[in-house]
């Protein structure tokens, strides 16, 4: 089959709060191939976000191995990881997380400010990304002037503007009404199919999971064995 983009071996994450040890992830062996649209499901607290954060190198595992896009994340310095994430990973949050004082265009431009692109090129890229998510006419709007669905589309534009290979979305439809959620899911599916992005999406919603090509279930920090695709 095709190339593996995410590969974990006995990946574990333990949080230590005061005297308590919380095992958020335990011995997770996950493999995601290029071009897959993976849904991660599981009850609250099962470690879905934790897994996503480890894939994005936003957090470090307690033990185990993790290789993303051929890169052993534990071997990179903080600075290199930041750069790696900027180039290779687009992250979409449940609560959009746009910067309120910046316009849609400026929000989307943010990741490009870390690249050597010139001002005009950055704007061109950002406009293209916003057009792709259907917000070509909302460039100068501030987040508070947008609906939730529109905000999430700006966030997706921001996630794809550096043309990363991997899109990670943590309950991207969790804060949206059904219609907006549908739009976002179609958008992610389109990015997956038309642009060949590998998508890993955390969701509670079985309907949302139907957009995925592969569904994984987590429970109490463990990845359940796959029992056939839905």
């Amino acid at each position: 089959m095709s190339e593996t983009v995410i590969e974990t071996r006995r990946l574990s994450k333990e949080y230590i709060r005061d005297e308590f040890h919380i095992t958020a992830l335990q011995d997770v062996d996950l493999e995601v191939k290029r071009g897959e649209f993976v849904a991660l499901m599981g009850p609250s607290g099962s470690g879905k976000s934790t897994l996503l954060h480890l894939i994005a190198a936003m957090d470090v595992p307690t033990s185990g191995e993790i290789k993303v896009l051929g890169q052993d994340l534990r071997k990179l310095s903080d600075r290199a990881i930041a750069r790696w994430r900027n180039e290779n990973v687009g992250f979409v949050f449940q609560s959009f997380n746009l910067i309120p004082v910046l316009t849609a265009l400026e929000n989307v431009e943010l990741p490009l400010k870390l690249t050597p692109l010139k001002k005009q090129e950055r704007i061109d890229h950002a406009v293209t990304a916003l057009k792709l998510v259907g917000l070509g006419d909302r460039l100068g709007h501030y987040p508070r002037q947008l609906s939730g669905g529109q905000e999430q589309r700006v966030a997706i534009a921001r996630a794809i503007v550096t043309d990363p290979a991997l899109i990670l979305a943590d309950e991207p439809t969790g804060n949206l009404d059904a219609a907006s959620a549908e739009d976002i899911l179609h958008l992610l599916a389109r990015l997956n199919q038309e642009f060949g992005k590998t998508v890993v999406m955390v969701t509670h919603d079985p309907h949302a999971a139907r957009f995925a090509s592969v569904v994984h279930h987590l429970e109490k920090g463990r990845l359940l064995p796959m029992n056939g695709n839905p």
């Binding site: 957090d59 930041a82 180039e87 910067i99």
Partner: protein, 387 residues
């Protein structure tokens, strides 16, 4: 870093009320700081005219209000490097009444030496001669004469207070001097004062003004005069004329120390105010630090963005403060003073640059600790922060 400027500025403008308040308090503090530094600069860095550099003033070590014996003048004249010595006496007294427009300095001087000591005093020759020959003659600076509507030949009566005599003068000369204080003062013959005084009060001198023959000799003369009278019952204190001007102003204390402590206190206070505001606004934004890091921003870039914001606010406040300080120094210039340096008080470019530097440092110093902590917060933790 420059490409982050729009975000820096927009962040700064995020909580407008808080930013405006910070800018205002920064502005007021920097106004005080700027004004103090300008005064300090005016006192201690202004280039004095060359004649002033050659002049020294000797006074009673205990107080400016106490006199010295007249013979000290002869002893001073024998010190090598001294070209001329002139006895002067602050007369005080009242002209007409005590209203501010009638307040000006009246000094008893020695007319035959006066023009040697003050070569920059510009006066027609015949007026100079009249002043030197006629015992009850007086001369006035141009500004004073104009303000009092005096003409040559006018009679001017000064009622004594420190000295128990009333003196009546005839105005024989009007002069122009570079020195603003002189231009607003009246000078008369010390001999005339002496003869009007009772025997017991004669032979005393308020200050000696010394003219050195070269600037190189000034420091040596300064020391030589005072050591000359070190073992006498009445000791002296000698300093250059510009320094004397300051000690005159500083009757009550150490101007330098006062100015510097005000500057220090102002800087420290604004540092605390600023630190508090920055800490507040950084706390509110830890979540966004997590978002920026997710996008690939490094801790260093985020540190720079937060520090930049603090510095931007400080600099805007400082510019406002300097503007206000410039207005205030115009007010000071318009006020009546006995100090030349204050007459031309202004915020010099060097003071402005220094103030901006101090403001930037305050911004950096007050923001550094919270900014550093915020920028170092692990992403996941920052994203969980909900404040």
């Amino acid at each position: 870093m420059l490409r982050h400027l729009p975000l820096v500025l927009k962040n700064a403008w995020r909580n407008r009320r808080r930013t405006v308040l910070t800018i205002l308090s920064m502005g007021v503090s920097l106004m005080i700081l700027g004004l103090m530094m300008a005064i300090y600069h005016a006192f201690y860095f202004t280039n004095t005219p060359p004649e002033q550099d050659l002049r020294l003033v000797t006074r009673n070590k205990v107080s400016l209000a106490l006199p010295m014996p007249q013979f000290y003048g002869d002893r001073i004249r024998q010190i090598p490097g001294v070209r001329e010595v002139e006895a002067e006496q602050w007369f005080g007294g009242v002209y007409i009444d005590n209203r501010p427009e009638h307040l000006f300095a009246r000094l008893a001087v020695e007319p035959d030496k006066f023009f040697t000591i003050y070569p920059d005093v510009n006066i027609p020759d015949e007026q100079k001669k009249a002043f030197q020959q006629e015992r009850s003659a007086c001369i006035a600076g141009r500004e004073l004469a104009q303000k009092q509507h005096w003409n040559l030949g006018d009679r001017i009566t000064i009622e004594g207070d420190i000295f128990p005599v009333n003196l009546e003068f005839t105005l024989r000369g009007i002069f122009d001097a570079k020195d603003a204080f002189m231009n607003r003062s009246l000078y008369f013959n010390r001999e005339y004062l002496e003869q009007s005084l009772p025997q017991a009060r004669r032979g005393l001198v308020g200050t000696f003004t010394i003219l050195a023959n070269s600037p190189d000799n000034v420091p040596r003369i300064e020391r030589a005069v005072d050591s000359q009278f070190q073992n006498s019952p009445i000791q002296t204190k000698t300093e250059t004329q510009s320094a004397f001007g300051l000690s005159f102003l500083a009757f009550l204390g150490n101007v330098k120390l006062i100015l510097l402590s005000v500057c220090g206190a102002v800087t420290f206070t604004i540092l605390l105010v600023s630190a508090n505001t920055i800490a507040m606004s950084v706390r509110e934004r830890v979540h966004e630090v997590g978002v920026l890091k997710t996008l690939g921003y490094t801790s260093e870039a985020i540190l720079g963005i937060i520090l930049g914001e603090a510095v931007a606010i400080s600099l805007v406040g400082a510019m406002l403060g300097l503007l206000m300080a410039q207005l205030m120094s115009a007010v000071v210039r318009a006020m009546p003073t006995f100090n030349d340096q204050l007459e031309t008080l202004t915020i010099q470019p060097s003071v402005a640059v220094l103030c901006l530097g101090v403001a930037a440092m305050i911004g950096l110093a007050s923001a550094f600790v919270p900014a550093y902590h915020a920028s170092r917060t692990p992403i996941v933790e920052a994203l969980r922060s909900t404040e």
